[in-house]
Every structure is written in structure tokens, then in C-alpha cells.
Symmetry: C2
Subunit: 262 residues, 2 copies
């Protein structure tokens, strides 16, 4: 059944959600505190009402989606609560924020969190992006599940506590992995070696993973083999960067520790 | 022009090289100290002579490829040197070993290093695997370039010093990245959260990279934003694992350090 959905926020996540929901048949409405060129164009193209004044949004929509920066969630919810009845369904889209920050303002609150890193340069297939949902009222879960399933192949109910763990894990596999890519790029760049040599290895390392297998299964290399001469040669090579040495030592220790506990 | 190539070693790298060279028209010969079932089947299927006694290999081949474990390179080269004239071209396939370990035994030595992680479970497209070459004699580079180009789309001349750096970088983006995947898997597993939720993020993080762009370009997350409350919440969450906390602290510092120097 078609619903009325107000999306608040026209940053990367807001834009991705609006794009993903264009084909669902729901009646969309869009709010952003400031006018944003690309969002307004998208809204105009698909006849989506776009507001810059919070007071003008519909007061009786079926869902309010807060796609705003983490620190704006509570202030925007507080503003919203002066306009809406407290039994409206209001969810945020943050991986790092407890659902309960909405509790002082609304009885029917929850989370609709698309787990991905969004950028304006990359067009992602939204169906591949998992949606993690949570609802304070059991009876709101069904609608969030259904909406999630309309735009994504993977919808998962998670508690706020579980979402916190998922967010730490996402930092490990996205921010920290990207940092290791950066370290590798810089090392090669300093030696005049093209980074393109590493790309097939980088991609194979991620592509070989599967949902039900611990990545430890694939571990190889000097730490795994306890190949001390190679470990020491590597540490000697990066001796001018003691903090990178420390990263090297720690991750090598963790590889050996996990190996000992498999 | 077709050449005679003896591949020594029937482990993962040796098998991958033989498979890749099947279509090149070169006359292959294969040696492994012990009989290996899958290698012998492959050899039989393609009429490749397969020897378990080093003395039986051809003494006048155009190239001897040492696809053996790092620590076996020098002993096998020493054994070979008792059989071959010292002007035979002998190369090893190791990322972590200087070409010069072959110098005491052969005048024409070098390296033919396919940069990838090989496993028996994954069939890789060898053309996507970069080959790094090195030759003591300038005049041998042409043949190694040509052979590399017959089986791979990317052939790069690197000195042994450069290859050492490449090998450290490969440990960062393969072993250490895989360790971060493992840490994430274990954190989620402990909380009953399916790892499948992270796979799209993991793949996007590697797929968005390009040869000429520093991965720092893509960095996001709490460390990049200097979002101290989130960093502290994450550290508190993993408080039972001080060494993982240390990994978290160090990599967050390095993200912030690099950001300051862009």
C-alpha cells in the first residue's frame, strides 16, 4: 500500500534514499533546512514537494525519515515534535546513534539505517545496500521491513546495541581498511612504483569473502607463517615511521593470536 | 618465438604459472621434488613432462622458473647449478626475495613475480595478475617482458629494492586488511549479527579505488571528522580487548595525521 513519507535531509544519504524510493509508489516529500541545488533538481524532476521551512511539511505522513547528520538528529526531532502529534512514526538513518534519542519526542520511533558509505562521485546500486531497522513499537516493524524490502535485497532487524557493534565493525572494514590502502599507496608512491600493481590483489582480497565464512580462513603471509626473518625485514624497511611499525607489529600479533585460537 | 621453459615447483604458484602458460605455445617442462597428484594430472593432460628427479630436467632450456618456497630458492638454485651451465637464465617468483640470492650460481638471473595471493579454492584470471620482472642482464629483460605480456595485462620492471617495498605494501592491503575483516567478523559473530551486512561495504571500499588516485581521497568516518564522542564510544565498546583498542587508536591517529598533511 502506498504511504506518505517525508524525508528530512538532502545530504548524501537523503539523496540516495529519495532516489531509491522513486520507484516504490510512495508519496514522497522532502525537507532540507537550506536549498540544495542537486536535490531541488531531483525533486522538481519527479514532482516531489521540496521544503526549506520545516513548518510547511505535511503533519499527517505515515513516516518521517531523519536523514540528517548525527548531531542534528536530536535538535531536528525536537523541532519536529512541536509540529507533529507524538504518535507519528519517526526514524533516523544513523549507524552510530541510539534509537532512544528520539524517545523524548515521539512514542513511535525507530531506525532505518542503510549500511554503506555514500559519496557524490559513485552511483551505487541501492538494492545491494543492507538496511538495518529497529522500531520501539513492534507493530511498526512490518512497515519498515516492507519499505526496506522495496529498495534493498537485505533488511535486518537490529537492536541499538547491535547497531553500535555493527558501526564499529564498519569502521574497521571501511575507514581502517581504506587507511591501509592509503599507507600502501604512499609507500609505493615514494618509491616510484605504480599503485595499479596492487589493485588486483586488493580486489581479490575482498571478493573472495563469503557471508558464512570467517575471513581468517583466507589468511596468508609472513605473520601467519610465523616467518620472523620477513617480519623483521619489513619492520626494518619502514623504520623511519615508528607508528606504521607499530601498526605492522600489532596486526601481525593479532594474526598470530587468532591463528592460535582457531 | 616459442621457448623451452622449465618450471620448478608444483605448489600454488607453480600450478598457476603452468596453467597460464598452457596457451602460449612455449614447450613446458615441470619439476617437483615430490609427486603431486593435481599437478601430475595437469601435466599428463597437456603432455607436459613432469619430473621428480632434478637430474632429469632439460639442461638447455631457455628459462628456468623457480616457483618454490622462499627458503627453498637458494638450495634449489645451488642444486641446479651443479647440473646447468652458469649462463642459463634462472629466475625466481618470490616477492620477498632479492634477485641477488641467485647471483652466486648463475650469471643470467632475475625475477618473475606474479603479485597475487593464490589458493586452491579460487580460480583467478591470470591476465589480471601483474607480473613484476627483474633481470641481472639487460638483454634478458625483453624475453621476460614478452613472456609476462603473454599471460598478463600488466608487466612491470622493478628492482629488488622496489619489490621489497611492494611486498610490504602487499602485506598491508592483503594480510592486514584480511585481519581487519576477521576482527569485524568476530565482533559481529559475538553479537549474533550476520557478516553479510558488511559485504557490500567491504566490496565498495575496494572497488572505488583507481590506479592514479590516493585512497585518502575516499576517507570518511569518525576519525576523519575528528568526531571524538564516536571515537570514545567505540573504544569503550571494545574495552575488553586492549590490543584491538590499540589498533583502533593507531589507525585513527594515522587517518588524522594523513588528513593534516594532504
Amino acid at each position: 500500500m502506498n504511504q506518505r513519507i517525508v524525508i528530512l535531509g538532502a545530504g548524501k544519504v537523503g539523496q540516495a534514499l529519495v532516489n531509491a524510493m522513486l520507484g516504490t509508489g510512495h508519496a514522497l516529500e522532502w525537507y532540507n533546512r537550506s536549498p540544495r541545488q542537486e536535490a531541488m533538481q531531483l525533486a522538481a524532476q519527479y514532482d516531489i514537494p521540496y521544503w526549506s521551512d520545516l513548518k510547511t511539511i505535511s503533519k499527517d505522513a505515515d513516516l518521517y525519515l531523519l536523514a540528517v547528520a548525527d548531531k542534528a538528529i536530536e535538535p531536528v526531532a525536537a523541532d519536529l515534535s512541536t509540529l507533529l502529534s507524538s504518535d507519528r512514526l519517526v526514524v533516523h538513518t544513523s549507524g552510530a546513534t541510539d534509537a532512544a534519542v528520539l524517545a523524548p519526542y515521539f512514542a513511535r520511533y525507530g531506525v532505518f539505517y542503510p549500511l554503506q558509505t555514500f559519496s557524490e562521485e559513485r552511483t551505487l546500486n541501492f538494492r545491494a545496500i543492507p538496511i538495518c531497522i529497529e522500531a520501539a513499537k513492534e507493530e511498526d516493524l512490518g512497515f519498515l521491513f516492507e519499505l526496506g524490502g522495496q529498495i534493498s535485497d537485505q533488511v535486518q532487524e537490529l537492536s541499538s546495541a547491535q547497531r553500535r557493534w555493527l558501526h564499529v565493525a564498519a569502521v574497521l572494514v571501511n575507514n581502517f581498511v581504506n587507511q591501509l590502502y592509503t599507507e600502501a599507496y604512499d609507500l609505493l608512491d615514494n618509491q616510484g612504483i605504480p599503485f595499479s600493481l596492487l589493485l588486483p590483489l586488493i580486489r581479490e582480497t575482498s571478493e573472495r569473502l563469503s557471508p558464512d565464512q570467517n575471513p581468517a580462513h583466507w589468511q596468508t603471509g609472513p605473520a601467519m607463517r610465523a616467518d620472523t626473518p620477513t617480519l623483521e625485514a619489513h619492520l626494518a624497511l619502514i623504520k623511519d615511521d615508528p607508528s606504521l611499525q607499530e601498526v605492522y607489529r600489532l596486526l601481525s600479533q593479532r594474526i598470530q593470536f587468532k591463528k592460535g585460537h582457531e
